[in-house]
Amino acid sequence: MDYSLKVMDHFSNPRNMGSIENSDGVGEVGNAKCGDIMKIYLKVENNRIADVKFQTFGCGAAIASSSMATEMIKGKTLEEAWKLSNKAVAEALDGLPPIKMHCSMLAEEAIHEAINDYLKKRGLETWDE
């Protein structure tokens, strides 16, 4: 695989790795293509993402995407975080090999799940894609 230096950096030294006890929202998604799994934990304060952690069972691209995506949404409002696309994550990583684009989808989807989980827990209506 031709991974960029940025991918290799985020993969080797992942940011925000781990879980959050008593998190406000959790999203877990599986990748239809390769069967990999990503889990995102959110701590929400004043509609902003105060903290975020991830766990990933997946390839280098999946782990780097998790790391980068969590970095990108930290401190953002839920609306802003919702809008983060897998393409933006891939770009922030200086690109992913074409066959690895789907891995960044895991991050987008897990964030959506986690936000909706938070909304649900609050008794709010969940958002649509």
């Binding site: 695989m1 990999d36 997946g58 390839c59």
Partner: protein
Amino acid sequence: MDNSATTPVRKEVVEEMLPYMTENFGNPSSIYEIGKISKHAIDKARKKVADALGSEENEIYFTSGGTESDNWAIKGIAFANRSKGKHIITSSIEHHAVLHTCAWLEGQGFEVTYLPVDKYGIVSPEEVKKAIRDDTILISIMLANNEIGTIQPVEEIGKIAKESRIYFHTDAVQAIGHVPIDVNKMNIDLLSLSGHKFEGPKGCGALYIQKGTKIDTFLHGGAQERKRRAGTENVPAIVGLGKAIELATAEIEESNKTLLELRGRLVKGLLKIPKAHLNGHPTKRLANNVNITFEYIEGESLLLLLNAKGIFASTGSACNSFSLEPSHVLTACGVPHEIVHGSLRLSLGRMNSEQDVDRVLEAVPEIVQKLRNMSPLTPK
């Protein structure tokens, strides 16, 4: 430690090849002196391959590699014997060079039975027997598997094929230099091999075709290889392949002794990691092959982290394949999907030492732990 993927060309082999790239560059089909030198060089190499397989020289045909040998054997037999039947028997753990060829033949009206394997990856001769139909024209079962190193009961399967008068092909690409071969004793009609798997050159292989076998030409054209395989002969590569197989065959015993020790040390060390399982058969396997699964982690990331430490390996994970399908071999052995992901293949070579093994044994547990910490699947 990825010697099953490819090996560097051995120094002695390069040395034999070089003169044929520049000075002795003749076309071996030519009439004149330079061409004769090339022809003699090819004949010498052919003899070495024949000796390694226990065959006759005129039963050896040089090809561009294992893939061409497999394609030729299977399509060649299929098309030449179509009037006799349209059924082929193979196994579900063959190399893609066999499986994709069979799939293409299915599109051409042939029928293929893909035999299952047991949890060790072994094809049962009984199953072979049961699968035989009146219109079966070919049985193709590999000698040793490239992922899990399992060695098949080829001699028994060959006997069954012979009794039923069905051609028997074996893909021995991974076996050369590791398993002693005698095509007659093993009842093999066709056998594929590939130079770069035993420290020979890339882009050169051979197909053994037993005398009298009814097989179509696959590469049509000039009259090379006794009119059965056209194309200007790749003289330097053929010379190199000859030298490499000679060396590899002469050293089988000695090399297996060393490899078995290294493999034992490696397997023992890796199985100390909790939730680690050996794939393939504990003893009926290539002396150089280790294939281990670590639960809860994914193979590509494992490979990348090993790579960063200068250790090269391979995996059956879907994430590391172009098709995003997990290893068909491990899947066929009944390894569950999530667990296939965490498989690691280490294949030892002549150049590996105890120190290399110890370096791996130091690196892997750490990396596995790191990835398990990251994985949502790891039990608390």
